[in-house]
């Protein structure tokens, strides 16, 4: 796991705010948490200096008072860097990353529809994946949302 440990070491020496926040879950899987304020700096560094050139996916999370988003980055040698950023549910705002990864557009629209996260800087486009007439204040992947079931519900 030398490669994974080197990555952790490099990140720790570069960003003091990551102290104790990085975890090697297993071979080729690194998870870390970052505050939203530090996200951009870390994200750009991972992209430009550490060869994490593929965005595998983006995962939204509901953790009670906070919402979160995990950016799953991958490098060509199979290591994935999973960067989690959390933010309060009352004001869930993140910046778009479509400037780095155009393919992120569809993942960000998913966060908007299913978690009610506001993505700043995302251009106009079709919503995804809910229908156009879906109620504005209902976000199905939030924990307090329950499927109503049946047509007349």
């Amino acid at each position: 796991m030398a490669r994974e440990e080197n990555i952790v070491q490099e990140l720790n020496s570069k960003f003091s705010f990551l102290e104790g926040k990085i975890r090697i879950q297993r071979q080729r899987r690194i998870f870390l948490e970052v505050e939203l304020a530090h996200f951009k700096e870390l994200f750009e560094y991972a992209l430009k200096n550490m060869k994490f050139s593929l965005l595998s996916a983006m995962t939204g999370l509901d953790e009670g008072v906070n919402l979160g988003c995990i950016y799953h980055l991958a490098s060509d040698d199979g290591v994935t860097l999973n960067i989690k950023a959390t933010f309060p549910k009352e004001n869930p705002q993140i910046q778009t990353i479509t400037g780095y990864f155009p393919a992120a557009e569809i993942y960000e629209r998913e966060l908007i529809d299913l978690f009610g996260i506001e993505v700043q800087g995302l251009g106009p486009g079709n919503r995804y994946p809910l229908t156009d007439d879906w109620p504005k204040d209902e976000f199905p992947l939030r924990k307090d949302w329950k499927a109503k079931g049946g047509q007349d519900a």
């Binding site: 799953h72 299913l114 079709n126 994946p129 229908t131 199905p140 949302w145 499927a147």
Partner: protein
């Protein structure tokens, strides 16, 4: 088509055989595509939410139904993620059997795609024969798992059925037959001028664009991007198996055809290795109903590209969160790029070239004149016919080739 007027054409959204029905809104000037808008989500079934409300064992069968073709891909991707969180060591024989079914699934998917591609360019004899050959692998899958699709072979901690010596013999026999047929398809793809002429330079995606737009699977590999989860991030038995990652530098539909055909040859290679080195032992271990808290990212090279599952466990028997990113979602931006500034007549094959499920359902295209808002209706079957006629007028005609092939198979 009217050359001077601009049209906006909605295509879709009903494609029931796709896991994600899609609606394309195509801006057209004459026969040239000026831009493409894509709307997805018509078949959103809330599988991720449903997973949170069910047990891990129930979820295996649920995620298996994310896609009718890559069903084993999703089930394996999910199962190995949960096993990873629980710290379960899956028996080595089970890992080999997962690999076996995974490669059989790839054969069935690629042969299906070859037929669809043949149909879209008017080479229907290719459709008939590649789908006839596909039945061989479907029978093998049914023999091993009990089902033609949605195999239900996976469980947490291994697989549900073992393989016996007689079945191994049957699989090897089928692989020999399919290899013979695939060699012939490769010969056709590399020598038949009509095929080469029709597919070359269509749906171009440069290597830079493929990387920038995050394309995956054969779509990326046909643009020279050497990326394959089986080799880069090995799972199941792939770390112990020798195979080549097939790439091609044509960057077009022709390249995508070559990559898939050559990948079929790799599938046969992998299956032979799996069966000749199949370790003895149990095929599953018991996994507790409650999975300890933890999270992981599971990756799998599905026939169409990288499949990603993120799983978060909270110590109960139901997951806290399951996120599925199927490969088609990663290739959507690439399709937009491939269609821009190309001819409408190439649209069916360009779309088919990233996704093998572009089937024969009745889809309507309505042509809307931008100035007058007057609508004309063009069913999918007419667009298909238009595409074939358009190329026939320009010298790409499959009529003779269809007849020649029929003669070959009769003899």
């Amino acid at each position: 088509m009217h050359n001077s007027e601009e049209f906006k054409i909605p295509i879709g959204p009903q494609h029931p055989s796709l896991k994600e029905p899609v609606s394309f809104s195509v801006a057209l000037k004459g026969e040239k595509i000026m831009g493409v808008g894509i709307r997805l989500g018509y078949n959103h079934r809330g599988i991720e939410k449903a997973c949170e409300e069910r047990t891990y064992i129930q979820d295996i069968y649920l995620v298996e139904r994310t896609c009718g073709i890559c069903s084993h891909s999703h089930a394996t991707c999910f199962a190995q993620g949960v096993e990873d969180i629980a710290g379960i060591e899956v028996p080595i024989r089970a890992r080999y059997l997962r690999t076996l079914v995974g490669e059989l699934e790839r054969i069935h998917s690629h042969l299906l795609w070859l037929g669809v591609a043949g149909h879209e360019i008017g080479f229907d004899t290719l459709l008939m024969y590649s789908w006839r050959d596909r039945e061989v692998v479907m029978d093998i899958l049914a023999m091993l798992t009990g089902n033609r699709v949605n195999y239900g072979i996976n469980t947490l901690g291994g697989v549900r059925r073992d393989i016996n010596a007689k079945q191994i013999k049957e699989v090897l026999k089928a692989v020999d037959a399919l290899e013979e047929r695939t060699k012939y398809y490769i010969e056709i793809a590399s020598q038949e001028t009509t095929v080469i002429k029709r597919l070359s330079g269509v749906g171009v995606l440069s290597k830079e664009d493929a990387v920038r737009l995050g394309a995956v699977g054969p779509t990326a590999r046909a643009s020279g991007v050497e990326r394959d989860i089986r080799r880069d991030d090995p799972y199941a038995a792939y770390a112990e198996i020798k195979f080549d990652v097939i790439t091609d530098n044509h960057n077009d539909v022709y390249g995508r055809t070559v990559v898939r055909l050559k990948e079929l040859m790799e599938c046969y290679k992998i299956i032979r290795q799996v069966l000749s080195n199949l370790p003895e032992g149990p095929v599953s271990v018991k996994v507790p109903r409650k999975i300890p808290a933890g999270e992981t990212l599971s990756r799998y090279e599905a026939p169409r590209g990288e499949d990603v599952h993120y799983i978060k466990a909270n110590g109960t028997e139901k997951p806290e969160r399951v996120k599925i990113r199927a490969p088609t979602l990663a290739n959507i931006q690439a399709v937009k790029r491939m269609l821009e500034d190309r001819y409408l007549a190439d649209m069916p094959i360009v779309i088919a070239a990233i996704d093998p499920c572009f089937s024969c359902t009745d889809r309507l295209i309505s042509l809307e004149r931008l100035e007058s808002k007057k609508k004309e209706i063009m069913p999918w079957v007419n667009l298909h016919a238009y595409s074939i006629e358009w190329h026939r007028k320009r010298g790409v005609d499959f009529t003779k080739l269809n007849k020649k092939w029929l003669r070959y198979f009769k003899s």
